[in-house]
Amino acid sequence: MDDKSPMLELRGVSHVYVGRKGASLAVDRMELAVGHGEFISLVGPSGCGKTTVLSLLAGLFPPAAGQVLLGGKPVTGPSAKVGYMLQQDCLLPWRTIRDNAGLGLDIAGRRAAAERNRVEMLLEEVGLAGTEGKYPGELSGGMRQRVALTRTLAPEPDVLLLDEPFSALDMHIKMQLEDLVQATLRKLGKTAVLVTHDLAEAAAMSDRVVVLGRNPGRIRKEIAVPEAIRRLAPTEARKHPSFQALFDALWVELNAGEREGGSHE
């Protein structure tokens, strides 16, 4: 880590959901720092506030207390510096692949030829050359999620927030995409936060895995991924001899968190 200040930071962040029935504490006094170019995963039982943390980082809503910092500055709303990838591809069915991939640029009013060329190049890089003029309905699920990746990368964000983007895909397509996403982010030097409930995915893709506990959502434990596994592509990492030990360590933590959380209800 050559940069001293973290790319993303949560400082004493709490978040409360308020509704008719009352107010519930979703995230409690969370402290988290993600370095430049680091890839971290958030795992935890349902209701641990994983997606809330991601939404806070994206600036979809402000935290009830504490600070969310991006590059040392408070996050005030969604920005082009942060890309977000959803579980569903959410492509606009009436736009071509090219126009879907360039949606973020259209919204930002970036219509220069150079920008357009970059979209074409990105599409080519994720293996979608030749589909530019097609419509989302003509593509398979895995291809559509590649378009969603391109749409996220096109505005050149510094940070990528990945909200279970592989969970709706078939196993082999999921693993292909894991490799593609990790390789692409590494090449471009992006910082990434992945939310997943797949422990193997978290272990295979990240530099560091953060295990969350629930009721209220908080950090239980951070587990660093050994350098030997970190270097490998996700499909290779899964075959590494020390991968199972890492997976088991995560498994133990997650189970402990689930039991604790359950007793609060």
Partner: protein, 300 residues
């Protein structure tokens, strides 16, 4: 997050063509010929069903016309009240030959077209307003419900007093029938736009105007066009009723006039003209829909 689930799932591929068990290929080398034969058999089946449906339809129409003609001529029904097809045809032939029919058709078609086009445009604009200002939509919700359940034709006399006997009153009756129902239908579509698509635009930093232009409006386009089709029917009701009340020309006026002079052949022949013109208009809008909504859209 349940809101993401609204988008179509990232998994799933094209469905497989269902197989036909027609004995299978012979020898296995002529797969293309085998597929072609299966396709040809399928097309033949389709065509023969289509032909059967059309012939039954024509038969029913002919039987109805013949029965009506016989009933009228043989005095099973009162020909003064119910007329019969050849009399109606003669009436239509003479009124279209001497040119007395066409001005009435022209007036009514113009009023109806203005009614459904304006009704759809104004309804869509109001729906956009309600979507843009959630507070306004909350405030107006009960009023819309009341106004929608009101029989708007009852407002006719008020329009006549306020706007005089003529085009404006008829248009107002028509708009009162189309605008509210359009507003409610399209506003509901606006509001139910897929949360995932909305989230994507928000995450990319889109403004509310961009959200409307990029997602809400195009996603609702098929509904707007189908509302236009519904409004064709409503506009006809509005225009005919409006003409009953005030007009000195138009097809509704012809019906009232025929009724007053006890010429039911004129009334029925006008109904035939209305049926024909309304069908043509509806088909025209359906054709427009086909042209506008085609493209890369998935069949939904």
């Amino acid at each position: 997050m349940s809101d993401d689930k609204a988008c179509h799932p990232a998994g799933g591929d094209k469905e497989a063509a269902s197989s036909e068990d027609n004995g299978g290929p012979h020898g296995g080398d002529d797969r293309a010929g085998w597929l072609k034969a299966l396709h040809a058999a399928y097309r033949r089946r389709e065509r023969s069903i289509g032909a059967a449906v059309l012939s039954v339809q024509l038969l029913l129409l002919a039987a109805f016309v013949l029965l009506w003609e016989a009933a009228g001529r043989l005095k099973w029904i009162d020909p003064l009240l119910f007329s019969y097809p050849t009399k109606i045809a003669a009436q239509l032939a003479s009124s279209s030959a001497d040119g007395t029919l066409w001005p009435h058709v022209g007036v009514t078609v113009a009023e109806t077209a203005a009614g459904f086009v304006l009704g759809t445009l104004i309804g869509t604009a109001l729906a956009a307003l309600l979507w843009w200002f959630p507070f306004v939509s909350k405030v107006f919700d009960p009023y819309l419900v009341v106004f929608n359940s009101l029989p708007k034709v009852a407002l006719g006399p008020i329009f006549i007093v306020a706007m005089g006997q003529g085009f404006l009153s008829i248009l107002s009756v028509t708009l009162s029938m189309t605008v509210i129902v359009t507003t409610i239908g399209i506003y509901n579509r606006f509001r139910d736009s897929e949360p995932g698509l909305v989230k994507v635009v928000r995450l990319l930093g889109g403004t509310r105007l961009q959200l409307f232009r990029l997602v809400i409006l195009p996603a609702s386009f098929p509904v707007i066009i189908s509302t236009l089709k519904v409004n064709v029917g409503l506009a006809w009701v509005g225009v005919i009723v409006g003409e009953f009340l005030v007009a000195k020309e138009g097809l509704g006026y012809l019906i009232i006039y025929g009724f007053q002079v006890f010429n039911f052949t004129l009334v029925l022949s006008t109904l035939v003209v209305i049926a024909a013109t309304a069908t043509l208009m509806y088909q025209g809008v359906a054709l427009l829909e086909k042209k506008l909504v085609s493209g890369g859209r998935e069949p939904s």
